[in-house]
Symmetry: C2
Subunit: 341 residues, 2 copies
């Protein structure tokens, strides 16, 4: 299923299946349709909940990921969704479906990575489920977070004339994946990688969820909309555009390109823009802010040492558009990230 | 992995991976090791969280379950864990890994069953994740609940001399599964089943989570320990025994046997006791209560029309024991439910 199908499918499966009364009675503030759900909690705060699954052969294989990285990334991708709501992470449940051929030492490595991530970002792992799997490992993580009442940063609040920003370089994860798939070496450790490729491989294997950036944006009270980039800039910009009923214009000249990404693209004859737009799993935050608040946010981010790049703007013409270096504007499709196929 | 392995594995993977300070800081009241986890919530209540996964070929196949039942049971098994804490269910996230060959109409049926269960028990479905799967469907549900502060019913509080009770007939689900596996007919609807087999097939396909019983037990403040029976009486009695550091003596003569189960066992030459002890997925509640409170609970259950059977007692001799009709006592092993293998 492509990501495009995914959105249609979720709509198809869930539309009008539950009364609004029931959802209201149960304190649902934001249900299906954002990075995470938000529900009523205690008087001053709301509970944020998200889940994300990694499936062997679909999201990883022995050529692309070390076992430790599988555990780390399974939680990191969920943390990214919590960051994209501006929330503070709290508790995780882990559901693991394990094929017979997985040794306990491989599972131990997966959990080593998982706990590395949990301890780094102060997440308590409080439970889960293990079951057999006929053939492939399936790891599903559910993560909660807490956010100040009605302050969660949604996709749906972008305003025409806002500027579009991102909190880091894009396309590196997809380039790292490309390298690993070309290399075709099982269980390739970092020690065996040349220094110049490491940033790309690390971006794919150990993405850094933008927890600080998410909280900074929420606390500033100046961020209009926010999304995490799990499926490439094009897809995520489309999500903001659709949820907010606005258009987005990306300025190609303003997209920052990581020097390692550029060097690798030159080497293998690929376009960085393709990976930036249609790669995925960069897990940076993409958001919008009114022009008058850009300077304030830029200086706050600078003080924290977090990148804050302006990429474009919010316009009233629906869809996502890109302006190239010659000033030509074209519409771009919501083509998501499809891993290996 | 057998259930026996599962407990050892969970211990192996999670033991001492996180500091108690971090878990305390994050308000963890009960982490790994009960039907569900409990964390601090608002001043008067705590949040209960659980997850449970169903994997095609491991937990179901086209001979045993209709698509609608897969969705229904995926949520019902989680509800059972919430019931076993005495909590009120609240919000669910659904993670679905979908093989290419699944049609959208099959997925629609799964979600039909899922929402039937959600609406029946007033659970709000608030989000989830969909991804591809190489071959088999994997559905993982995370469910939250709410419980009065420090009132959650744990496994670990059984006292010597307590009586052991169960809230319904056991072994029916395993017998229903046996029937369906013998029958070997794909997508066998209820309409095609003879009336006398339906209670067993229904017990397997649409188990009824004991939400009312769980709340009644909590509100009575007279239940010492509680567990749900997902893996057979033997395994669950062992869990209470181990968590509470007590022994359990089951009186074979006191185990109620559903008339349909008895008739089916006579027909196919099986022992009801085997399925009661080592079958699984009955999703009734197994608990302990002091002798002086049994009568009170019995009358409360009777008024609500919920079965309340006394099965045995809590003893100080470790392990789980069974006394047969001749008065002979033997130890029984913690052999769990292994579905198809």
């Amino acid at each position: 299923m492509s990501k495009l199908d995914e959105f249609a499918l979720i709509q198809f499966l869930n539309h009008k299946k539950q009364s609004e009364e029931l959802q209201q009675k149960l304190g649902v503030i934001k249900g299906i349709g954002d990075d995470a759900a938000v529900v009523q909690h205690s008087p001053g705060s709301q509970l944020v909940m998200t889940c994300d699954t990694m499936v062997e052969t679909i999201h990883f294989n022995p050529y692309t990921m070390l076992d430790e990285d599988v555990g780390y990334k399974a939680l990191a991708s969920n943390l990214s969704d919590i960051a994209a709501m501006g929330a503070v992470p709290k508790h995780a449940l882990i559901s693991l479906s394990i094929p017979k051929h997985y040794s306990s030492s491989r599972l131990k490595k997966i959990y080593k990575g998982l706990y590395e991530c949990a301890n780094e970002f102060e997440v308590a792992i409080i439970g889960g489920d293990t079951s057999k799997s006929p053939k492939h490992l399936n790891i599903s993580v559910t993560l909660t977070g807490e956010v100040e009442t009605n302050q969660a940063l949604l996709r749906s609040n972008a305003k025409v004339n806002d500027l579009l920003f991102v909190t880091g370089f894009l396309g590196c994860s997809a380039a790292g994946l490309h390298y690993l798939l070309e290399k075709q070496e099982r269980h390739l450790t970092s020690a065996k990688l040349s220094l110049d490729i490491q940033p790309l491989v690390q971006a794919h294997r150990r993405p850094i969820p933008q927890m600080k950036a998410g909280r900074l944006l929420l606390e500033s009270k100046r961020c209009h909309s926010l999304n995490d980039i799990s499926d490439g800039l094009a897809s995520e910009a489309h999500e903001i555009s659709e949820a907010s009923k606005v258009g987005i214009l990306i300025n190609e000249d303003m997209i920052p390109i990581h020097p390692t990404l550029r060097a690798y693209c030159d080497l293998v004859g690929k376009s960085p823009l393709d990976w930036i737009l249609y790669g995925g799993e960069d897990y940076h935050l993409l958001g919008t802010v009114s022009r008058s608040n850009v300077e304030y946010l830029q200086s706050r981010f600078q003080r924290q040492g977090i990148p804050f790049f302006i990429l474009g703007e919010v316009i009233d013409q629906k869809g996502v558009h890109i302006k190239d270096q010659y000033g030509n504007i074209k519409k771009i499709q919501k083509e998501g990230y499809n891993h290996f196929n």
